[in-house]
Subunit: 216 residues, 4 copies
């Protein structure tokens, strides 16, 4: 059994502040959203990292973005094996039910999950090996990209490269979902790869023509 | 191969607005966050729904909340089987690496995922059956709670009850993670169950003493 | 009495973004526009529909287009009866004061106002009958064109035909304004009829020679 | 008969630019908007003035804002007399059919329509008197506010005051629409009054508590 506690009072206080300010000023909109349902234009897959706030970054407070957040913004390959797949379920709901127009994968600098993957691939992270490490097994999704980055520059350079590779890996795996690939082919869904530098606030997108990330 | 497109210009424009306002005024803090790493106080598990904005609701823009978002804010049971488990990986990272003090599960009204589960349990959603429905297999996590709600009131009442049950289910499954249960036992981690009404803006928490949700 | 509220904060945030980007880079031009007054080259009469953005479509951010938007881009006939006529006032200001060179009527696909007119003419929209329906009485302007479309093809075909007829109706009614007809006669003002397909992004213009709409 | 001309080539060229850039990058969204219909969050009533671009100012390219534009952003009083009332029809469609959450009246500096009203009220604009001036009869809507501004400061001060009064007049007249007042009373619709300075780019909102306009 769990022993859930009341919400810590610092969050109660902030919630009450939100209720009389942001909620109050958008009450009519919230009521409409509840009645008419959501019609988000885009799905964003970003990292759980507390320093990434995609809603603020895109000025999109309520109803605009359907957001899935997991470690290192990863999408696993299509695997209809009857097991539970949270990321695949979120993508299915966004694409098949909500019919979003854009699917955006947002990576970021200083990513702890990607750092763990780098350490693991180098053999420096025994704690991430074995069935008992969920982080390790999750980061296995990114392993195929390690070969692309292992010989370039210093550790910081490799980390940035692998962070961007995690965006690429997700974009590639997205295309393994047949109903998603169909929509991309018929141009009713577009894919986008982004990477944000937390410190500098700069945003880069993957340019397919030039086959590299560059500033928006 | 994927064919990633540049970011739609309306998002470029909004990003540029964010860069010179919100980012600019918090630049020193972002730089410190990048250098020193994140030290979030709490992890929140909430839904992907575009109408739920936990960051705004808790006045927590940068660095405070580690957030995992999936369909219906569900936590599957502990399964160290060597497969990828995105939700479990996020929990492991928050609890074991970041050592958050609070773990909050946030449910909400008008939840499409929970509605799908309700339909499925009643036999009204053949499209959610079978291995090809990721949403169906993901919502299987919540199935054990259907019996608790199937005989109460009308459909709306059942939906609300099942939305709150999804919070309870997640709290129960959280306790199946041994290292998490240890921390709860030694009081270095507290669990919290919340449910927000999108239309009314009201927030309820699970009160273990009274064994029911009530307003914060 | 009214109870005007402060601007919702999501719009405040976006406005602040605009102020430091788009406004900042065009500041000298805005100041000149304020000092010297506007000298738009064309007036556009388009629909209020949120999916039609004539400024973006014609790359015309500041000072170029004088734009009147109403339901279904309709112009009523010339009626100098001392009552308030918003559309006629906008046309008078553009033609007589600003002396625009072009007057463009822009229709569009999926028009809710024209759909309402179609329903009304078929007797399927009792809610649009009677003095209390402003939409119904406004769409009366288009009623004379119903006979031209009622026997052609299926409902979608009729809707598209009536959308284009609303452009024709407006062009015809424009010519009932004597000072406007004078300018057209002396070739100091030209009229243009357009229709844009929201989904396909294609633009058609009315070709007087061929007496039909065709792609630009 | 009208003699509509082909679209001037400078606009054809710009349209073609838009088609391969902005439209192309948002094609999936345009298709969804055409299929699912519009769900704009707000209606904006602004001026036809070519220097006011509410879409850009609020970073809202497609589908977000239902926009009516007329001379001096005026709303006439509720008059269900069976005549055509374009502004009232637009409001009815936004509030009753689209059920927008916010209704924003946006005034601006250097407004030619308001300047005409000021001249007319002073007796300096004989060309605006009589049934043949649509601009004059339209600006009659604002006449009741002249008394409030006629004794304050110089002409520029009076003009700014009357521009803001036109926002107030519209807000007051909006409340004369019974179904709109009902929605305001039940808090499913909020009203907002804004005024933008074209030269300085500053935006003010009407603060009901302080009974004056102040910077956002």
């Amino acid at each position: 059994m769990h022993e859930a506690k009341p919400l810590p009072s610092y969050l109660v206080q902030r919630y009450q502040g939100w209720k009389v300010t942001s909620y109050a000023e958008n009450r009519a909109w919230y009521q409409k959203l509840a009645t008419d349902g959501q019609h988000p234009r885009a799905m964003v897959i970003s990292c759980c990292d507390s320093r990434v706030n995609v809603i603020s970054m895109f000025g999109a407070e309520q109803g605009e973005l359907f957001i899935h957040r997991n470690i290192a913004n990863l999408v696993p390959p299509y695997q209809p094996d009857g097991k539970e797949h949270g990321t695949s379920a979120a993508i299915e709901y966004a694409v098949q039910v909500l019919k979003v127009a854009h699917l955006i994968v947002l990576g970021h600098s200083n990513c702890g999950g990607v750092q763990g993957c780098l350490n693991m691939c180098r053999g420096d992270a025994p704690e991430l090996e074995g069935n008992h490490s969920f982080v390790g097994r999750w980061m296995d999704i990114l392993r195929p990209k390690y070969d692309d980055v292992k010989d370039i520059g210093d550790e910081d350079t490799q980390l940035r490269a692998l962070e961007k590779s995690s965006v690429m890996m997700s974009l590639e795996n997205l295309m393994s979902f047949p109903w998603l690939a169909d929509k991309v082919a018929e141009d009713t869904l577009t894919l986008h790869g982004l990477w944000v530098d937390i410190s500098a606030g700069t945003l880069e997108f993957y340019d397919t023509q030039e086959a590299r990330f560059r500033a928006v």
